[in-house]
Amino acid sequence: MNKPVRVLIVKPGLDGHDRGAKVVAFALRDAGCEVIYLGLRSTAEEIMTAATQEDVDLIGASVLSGAHIELVSDLLTERSHHGLDNTPIVVGGIVPPGDVDRLLQLGVDDVFPAGTVLTDVVSRVMALADRSLR
């Protein structure tokens, strides 16, 4: 039997809008993932420490405050410091269309702007996590 996919769901920055993060966390659990929900206002350092300790296969970050470019850049830098470059990062939230490509260019593996249908989020996350497990 396959080892279940382990996902870390995080809210970096100061934004408290956690509806999307929780909905995705519930959906991934129902899809058979082991989900660790780190809670609000986590720093990049806290997130990558948790990712290491929990040995996760993927990190999902949710940002709705518009600060996604800076916050995600910090996450990617910290991910390198922790030697986790092979752990995919996906981002969801209020992301203007022009910023989707910018995030992908920065090194994010997928972006789910507001309005992405939940089943789509789950299947894309699972595909990425499978890739990182292989």
């Binding site: 920055g13 100061l14 934004d15 408290g16 809008h17 956690d18 509806r19 929780k22 909905v23 966390a25 519930f26 959906a27 929900y37 809670g39 609000l40 720093t43 405050s65 518009g66 600060a67 800076e70 916050l71 910090d74 209020i94 992301v95 203007p96 269309p97 022009g98 702007p113 507001a114 309005g115 249908v117 939940l118 089943t119």
Partner: protein, 533 residues
Amino acid sequence: MSEARGPRTTDSGIEVAPLYTPHDLGDPAELKQRLGHPGQPPFTRGPYEEMYRERLWTMRQYAGYGSASETNQRFRYLLSQGQTALSVAFDLPTQLGLDSTDPTAKPEVGRVGVAIDTADDMVELFNGLPLDQLSVNFTINATAPIILAFYLVAAEQQGSDRSQLAGTLQNDILKEFLARKTFIYPPEPSMRLVGDVVEYCTAELPRFNPISITGYHAREAGCNAIQELALTMSDAIAYATLLVDRGLSFDAFAPRFSFHFATTLELFEEVAKLRAARRLWAKIARDRFGATKPEAMRLRFFSGCSGATLTAQQPLNNVVRSTIQCLGAVLGGAQSIHVMGYDEAMAIPSDAAVTLALRTQQILGHETGVVDTVDPLAGSYFVESLTDQIEARANELIQSIDEAGGAVRAIEAGLPQHWIAENAYRIERAISDGTTVKVGVNAYTDDSKTEDLTLFEIDDQSRDRQCSRLEAHIAGRDGSATMAALGSLAEAIRSEQNVMGPLIDAARAGATLGEMSSVLKDHFGTHREPPPW
């Protein structure tokens, strides 16, 4: 896509019959009692006798970004376009008690609202805008006492008489634990601060609403209309209990209670909810708190429509959605309204989107005639039936919160947070599997066209300017006077005195938001949320 068959329900699960008849109104004498007369308890038909015939609702677009001077420009623009009052959006560092120069604040300065670090920033925010003539709404909670202090210093510097100050401080910390999540301190000391503000304002600011008890954010976070109503009432009960326990008279403070609800696309259910809200509060005020003055039983509310119903896909569709929501708020008898911008699923609204949102309100107010008679849906078999059912079901939920020990205990135990998250998940599953049709998202999609919208972008220099301004402020103030004022604040907290006086003194002495908040944090500690499962 198939048309839905079988039983139909409202958004909150009330079964909807194909036809409603006089039978649904019940006994005519009892109906007359349940409805009453507009402007009189139980206020089902409206808080005022003449409603919009006397005065239209207050048109108040939520606005703020960058620094105080940039937001001042948008305020002036909105007023020049016929907006009748102001509503301030603060950035997250301001909401969380962090100065703009704090390293954790950095990515968020000026993004979702204006950065306010000192009383000087508040003076700048209202530069040329007379506070004794303008009603201002402040969406601020954990740092509400500090923002109120800054506002009072700004008014003082303008020479405005405190007795003339009108507006609303959101100051509803319980719903921050439920939804919006800009809490700092644990629930108990947070409640003390809410009490200090209301106590101070009841004595000093007769025209100012010191609290706006808000179901809106819980709804936006995912709960349904009935849960939204019940949570709002349970929170209001908790605040009123706290104030009565402090020895204040309910008849004295309750007339300045203000409320805030969402209005979504479920038009009739929303109108029914808003009517039921007035009736519920009137009964709670009378039966639980022994209110004798009608003003103390009268629920007045602001409606912020609903951002969660908007879509990033086919964004111009949001104009239609917002119009229906604004109509719902008007038919429900709102005292003030904010309409969402069509681009808010992607960014904070552009000038074009904000202007159209304001025009939506103006068109409804001046061109449609819906304002010409009070409570036009009264007597509708369907709407009255919904109003009765929503009231009854909300009452059951209020009882369940009572049984959990009241709103504070229920929130500490995570009970209502669970309702919200569960229902949010249900809503998304229904969109995923097509049970709920969302135009442009899971039906009538069109990937061939992308809307060419100009979205709002923050000026990157704005943060640097704000930080330089703060550094110059600190360099220029009398540091020993500031420290003495912060010392008095700490002493007031320790000796259980009302913090408002010392906060106003500290604001006058040039203390920053971060400094004042740190003093509070040192004494109260900080709160971390329990996990969702």
